[in-house]
Symmetry: C2
Subunit: 304 residues, 2 copies
C-alpha cells in the first residue's frame, strides 16, 4: 500500500501516515463502532473548527463514547498534525472508536475508547477545474440507512448503502449517487448533502441526513445573500425538475450538479445561485468569525 503525505496521532503519539494503523480487533473496525468528523484547513486556517469539534463531541456522547482529551487538547492535536505535515491546505479527520476491552470481554462497557487524528492532503469530491462542468450523479433506488436504525446526525462510517450507490452510479456512467428514503424523498450522498434550486428558491432535506457543517454554512450564506431556503422533505422528482442542484461537503465545499440520471439539470452548467454561494463560501475562508489559523490553535488561543 502507498501512503499519502501527512501526520497522524494514534496511541498518544504523532506518526507518519504509513504508521497510522489500528488493531483489527478494535471495535471501530470490527463493528464500525466509532464516530468521526472532518474539518479542513485552507491557506493555513481551519474552517469552522469549533462547529466540527462540537458535533464530534455530541456524536460521541450519543454513542456513549468518551473523548480521552479535552476539546482544547483535541484542537491542539489536530493543529499539530497539520503543522508537522507542513500543509497549507489539508483534510483533517478526528475519529473516536470503541476500542477493545483489555480482558477481551464482549461487554461494550469494558472497552477503552481510542482517539485517532490525522491530516492528509485536501481531498475533493469535485476538483476546482471540474467545477464549471459540474458533477454527474444518479438518484439511486438504494435507501439511505433510516434514522430509526442509525442516527444520521451522528457522523458514522456505515457506508455500504453509499458504496452500492456509487457502483450504481459507475454502472450508469455517473460520478456519484444520492440515496433516497422509503418515501422517495432525497436523503444524501456519500459524504455530501444535497440542495435543489427552483425559481430562485432553495430546498434541502431536513430529516434522515447529517447536519453537515458545509450544509449549515450554505444555509447561513443563503440567508446572507437573500435567497429563500426551506429545510423540508424534498421529493426526488424535485431534483429532476430543478433549475440548479448543488451538493455540500467538507471535501470540496459547495459543488454544482449538472447531470442527474444522464439528463441535464436546468441549462446543464453551473447556475447563478450555486455560483453565488460557492464564491461566498470560499471568500469566507479567512473571516476570523469562521476560521482560525493553525498557529493560533497550536498556541492554545482557542475556547474549550
Amino acid at each position: 500500500m502507498n501512503y499519502p503525505a501527512g501526520t497522524a496521532y494514534i496511541d498518544g503519539a504523532f506518526v507518519p501516515m504509513s504508521e497510522a494503523k489500528i488493531s483489527v480487533l478494535d471495535w471501530g473496525f470490527l463493528h464500525s463502532d466509532a464516530t468521526y468528523d472532518v474539518v479542513h484547513v485552507w491557506k493555513g486556517r481551519f474552517f469552522r473548527l469549533d462547529s466540527h469539534i462540537e458535533r464530534f463531541l455530541r456524536s460521541a456522547d450519543r454513542l456513549r463514547l468518551t473523548l480521552p482529551v479535552s476539546p482544547g487538547e483535541l484542537a491542539r492535536i489536530l493543529a499539530e498534525c497539520v503543522a508537522r505535515s507542513g500543509f497549507q491546505d489539508a483534510y483533517v479527520e478526528m475519529v473516536l472508536t470503541r476500542g477493545a476491552s483489555p480482558t477481551f470481554s464482549r461487554d461494550l462497557r469494558d472497552a477503552r475508547h481510542q482517539l485517532i487524528c490525522f491530516a492528509i492532503p485536501f481531498g475533493w469530491i469535485l476538483r476546482p477545474e471540474q467545477r464549471e462542468a459540474g458533477l454527474s450523479i444518479v438518484l439511486s433506488d438504494i435507501r439511505r440507512i433510516p434514522p430509526d436504525s442509525v442516527d444520521p446526525t451522528v457522523k458514522n462510517y456505515h457506508w455500504l448503502d453509499f458504496v452500492m450507490g456509487l457502483y450504481d452510479a459507475y454502472d450508469r456512467g455517473a460520478q456519484s449517487a444520492v440515496l433516497t428514503d422509503a418515501g422517495g424523498n432525497l436523503a444524501e450522498g456519500p459524504g455530501f448533502n444535497i440542495f435543489t434550486v427552483r425559481q430562485g428558491r432553495i430546498a434541502t432535506p431536513d430529516r434522515g441526513v447529517l447536519r453537515g457543517v458545509t450544509r449549515q454554512t450554505a444555509i447561513a450564506l443563503a440567508a446572507e445573500l437573500g435567497f429563500p431556503l426551506e429545510e423540508r422533505l424534498v421529493a426526488a422528482a424535485e431534483a429532476l425538475a430543478a433549475d440548479e442542484v448543488f451538493v455540500t461537503s467538507t471535501a470540496g465545499g459547495i459543488m454544482p450538479v449538472t447531470r442527474i440520471n444522464a439528463a441535464a439539470v436546468g441549462a446543464g452548467r453551473m447556475g447563478p445561485v450555486t455560483r453565488a454561494l460557492l464564491e461566498a463560501y470560499w471568500a469566507r475562508h479567512d473571516d476570523p468569525a469562521w476560521s482560525t489559523s493553525v498557529d493560533e490553535v497550536l498556541s492554545g488561543n482557542l475556547a474549550g
Copy 2:
C-alpha cells in the same frame, strides 16, 4: 492495548495479534466497506468451513470485492493461523476490505482489496457454565438496518444499531438485545439469529437477517430431530408468548434465552427443544460431513 493469543494473516504475512493492524486509511475502516465471516474450530476441527467460505465469496461478490487468493488458498491460510496459534478451539475470522487506491483516488474501482485472517481464542455469547441460566435479552425499539439499505445476507460490520441495542439492554439489566423491523417483527441480535418455540413448533425470521451458518445448522438439525420449523415473519409478540426462545451464533452455537424484557420465557429455564438441538449441535462437531481437521486443511485435502 492488550492483545489475545493468536495469529493473523495480513499484508501476505503471518504475525502475532499484537501486530495485526490495518491502515486507518483503508476503506474497510473509514467506510466500513468490507465483508467478513467467522468459522470456529472445535477440538482441532473446523466446523462447516466450506459453508463459511462459500458465503464469504458470495458476500464479496455482492460488494464487488475480489478475493486475492483462491478458496483453497484461503482455507489453508485460515488453517495456518490456527496451527501457528496452537489452538484446539478457536474463533477464526476472514475479512476482505475495499483497501485503498495507490493514487488516493476516491473512485472505489481503483482500490486494492485487502484480505485479513486471524485466529483468536474461541469466543462465547453465552459460556457453557451459563447455559442452564440462559441469556437475558430485551426486544429493542431500534430497527435493524433494513434490507433495502444494506443487504443483511452480506455479512457486514454495520453494527451501530446493535451497539445502541446493547446499551439499551445494559440500561435495562439485560445481557443482549434483539432488534425488530419496521413492522414490529423480530430481526436479529448482535451476532446471532433468533428462534421461537411454541407448542413444539419452531419459527425463525425469514427476511432482514443473515443466513447464519449456525442458523442453517439448527434448521437442518430440527428436521433431523423431527421438530416442525417455519421460516417466516415472526412477530415480536411471539417471542414474549413463546415456550422457549433460543439464539444461534458461531460464537457459542445454540444458546437458550430465558428472559425477555425482564420476564421469564416459558418456565424460565432451558427448554427441551433447545436442549435437544444444543446437544445435537455439539455432537456433530466431529462428523466428517460437517467438520474438517485443521491438519487436513493444511495438507490441502480440501475441495476448492
